[in-house]
């Protein structure tokens, strides 16, 4: 199974998110994944993400959110990462804004890889040193380095 660092193209690492609102941020993160061809039907994917976001919070606390969807609009499991200095309201249970946002897109038929990617990423982001490293990262290469360093 692919590692988190292998699923995150450098072109999908946005260290200065322009958007301030949840769905605008999601659209900003989806863009690079459409460009790489991993998301084949943008509007269908955004609808799937929106449906989940309207039902439940994907903010896991600690300043982290992981919006995610598994749908036919995706060709291969892939991630995008965005960082927001001001933070974005993802309705986290701890009530705090999310500064580190990982978007996961997976094909409908790859449920196991999707679940395992979510689990590995959630575990990784609970580590203080990972969040600190991602907050300090100055380039997409730095982001990948932090993840590689802490991925088991």
């Amino acid at each position: 199974m692919a590692k988190i660092s292998e699923l995150l193209p450098r072109s999908a690492i946005l260290l200065n998110l322009r958007s301030k609102e949840k769905f605008e941020v999601i659209n900003e993160l989806v863009g690079p994944l459409v460009a790489t061809g991993s998301i084949t039907e943008e509007s269908e994917f955004v609808s799937a993400i929106a449906r989940r976001e309207n039902m439940e919070s994907t903010g896991i606390g600690l300043g982290v959110a992981i919006p995610h969807a598994r749908t036919k609009a995706v060709a291969n499991t892939v991630l995008a990462f965005g960082r927001s200095d001001s933070g974005v309201d993802f309705n986290s249970l701890d009530g705090k804004p999310s500064h580190l946002i990982f978007l996961i897109a997976a094909p409908e038929e790859q449920k196991t890889e999707y679940i395992m990617t979510l689990a590995r990423l959630s575990k990784l982001l609970r580590k203080d040193e990972v969040r600190i490293g991602l907050n300090k990262a100055g380039s997409p290469d730095d982001v990948v380095r932090v993840i590689v360093q802490h991925e088991s």
């Binding site: 439940e56 679940i115 395992m116």
Partner: protein, 125 residues
């Protein structure tokens, strides 16, 4: 009823408890808080085992989330470290859960949970 706290543990009976809780939540249009607790003995194991325990707990939670999503049931995932019984009791109060659901074969001491909890508890076989 608006909120159910589902205690998640890797036991053979867990899928029945999950299925029961999601059906109830769907029928009553209420929200599920799915809680997995990493037990205190995990850090005393080798690091890789403790890490695997957390990854396994997350994967169980996300499996349940995926099922809930397919059934249009609202769900929030919680993962905590510590004494499972105490976490369950504390979080049922802080999230104002009106019902606690656990599998009948969970490793909690059922009588202790019933005795200490201020919320109704259902053990699903």
């Amino acid at each position: 009823m608006e909120r159910i706290l589902l205690y998640v543990e890797d036991t053979p009976g867990m899928p029945n408890a999950v299925g029961w809780a999601l059906r109830l939540a769907k029928g009553m249009s209420c929200r599920v808080f799915a809680l997995a607790v990493i037990t205190p003995d995990a850090p005393r194991r080798r690091d890789t085992q403790a890490s695997d325990a957390e990854e396994h707990a997350w994967s169980s939670l996300y499996e349940i989330e995926d099922d809930a999503f397919q059934q249009n049931v609202r769900i929030s995932l919680l993962i905590e470290t510590g004494d499972a019984l105490q976490q369950l009791i504390d979080l049922s109060a802080s999230y104002d859960a009106e019902l606690i659901v656990a599998s009948a074969d969970c490793r909690l001491t059922c009588s202790e949970l019933v005795r200490q909890s201020r919320r109704p508890v259902v053990f699903v076989k």
